[in-house]
Symmetry: C2
Subunit: 218 residues, 2 copies
DNA sequence: GTCTATACAATGATAGAC
DNA sequence: GTCTATCATTGTATAGAC
């Protein structure tokens, strides 16, 4: 405003506008990718929703592909962090698994559109969409589950007869079903109480031999 | 060839060519939809792979959308038929569920590209791709599983303490995990032996109270 | 950093001959 | 039923002013 020398304005405005533009673009991208899909989403519509212009998008992300990978990268980062917090918890294996499932449930609930875009990309075509290693997230989740199961076995809470890998597979399946029910339009989401009940169902079959459990017979 | 009257050739060739063209188009469509996705797939490439021309596609299917829905419809029909055969089987609930899972596993194995297209459509965007009721397949599968579970409960093979719906949810989860591992590039498919072991894992927690089972203690 | 204006390829679909 | 030729539209991405 009051600066005399042209070009020397060390204003904070540029950088501030920069971040606003960037985040506006990211939010708009998630919205359009979710509704139209990556391939059918046009940069025209994205910048329109974001309230910016095309060159702004290419300045910040370079391409439509990098716009998607940035969205997925940030989501993956956040989910991984939450997963690590969950696995660091104390308690019985059952309590920890329940907490992990509840955390994921809550996280998905907060970011339904992003999770939908992630699923669409995961199940989408190989060509056309940029490569993104989703198995990273999947492997991390399975590793977290398996670790809790193994520690539960070591603590004598879970039968060692069943391999931790098999148990983890069942848990992963339940998590998957609940996630799908949460994000897909055609289903009404399943409540947390049902989730806990189902986990209990699995556990009753994974517990150590009934005779050793003590509390069991009623 | 030797016909005198022009246009009066009641040859069988046209109809025969018709069906060949149609099925060639369907196979090419699955191939391209699988690799590029519905939105990014171009009718140009599809007809090129099929060895026909664009107007032939529009003559048989009317639009790109109907080409996809036809593919999915036929797949859904075949899968549903196999599901009904599986649920009609005799034996214990465990045997029937194992058989159902094995049948699905085999069916998916035979039609990996179609199953991938189905998943991509299911998890894909609402707009852009033609509407297709996949919950139909999902609901049928869940109904089949639940029915077997309920009959298992009635026969005294499965504990009535757990709701059939909850048990079905766990089975659906396992089926889902195995299906994903089968069709997705990033995973190596899980073998049938593992599948049986995992089902056994679930069952050991769903069986009636151990004391009543007789065979149980070793 | 953000704009206007534009380059240029590829798309789904059709008209009309045969 | 299947073809050749073509249309109008939309796509991503960029050059250059400010």
């Amino acid at each position: 405003m009051g600066t005399i020398e042209p070009g020397a304005t060390a204003d904070v405005a540029p950088a501030e506008t920069d971040e606003r533009t960037r985040s506006r673009l990211l939010r708009a991208a998630v919205c359009i990718f979710d509704r139209k899909g990556y391939a059918a989403a046009s940069v025209r519509e994205i910048v329109e929703i974001a309230g910016v212009t095309k060159p702004a998008l290419y300045y910040h992300f370079g391409s439509k592909e990098r716009l998607l990978t940035t969205v997925l990268d940030e989501a993956c980062r956040e989910f991984t962090a939450a997963m690590e917090r969950a696995v660091a918890r104390k308690g019985t294996a059952r309590q920890r698994l329940e907490a992990l499932c509840e955390d994921l449930h809550g996280l998905f609930q907060e970011h339904v559109p992003v999770v939908r875009v992630a699923h669409a990309t995961f199940f989408g075509p190989v060509e056309g969409a940029p490569p993104f290693d989703f198995t990273l997230f999947d492997r991390r989740l399975e590793a977290a589950v398996r670790r809790i199961v193994e520690e539960g076995q070591a603590a004598g809470e879970i039968a060692t007869a069943a391999s931790a890998a098999d148990v983890s597979l069942v848990i992963m399946g339940v998590i998957g079903v609940f996630a799908v029910r949460q994000i897909h339009y055609s289903f009404e989401p399943i409540g947390l109480d049902t989730m806990r009940r189902v986990i209990g169902l699995i556990f009753d079959g994974v517990l150590r031999e009934q005779g050793q459990q003590g509390e069991r017979r009623q």
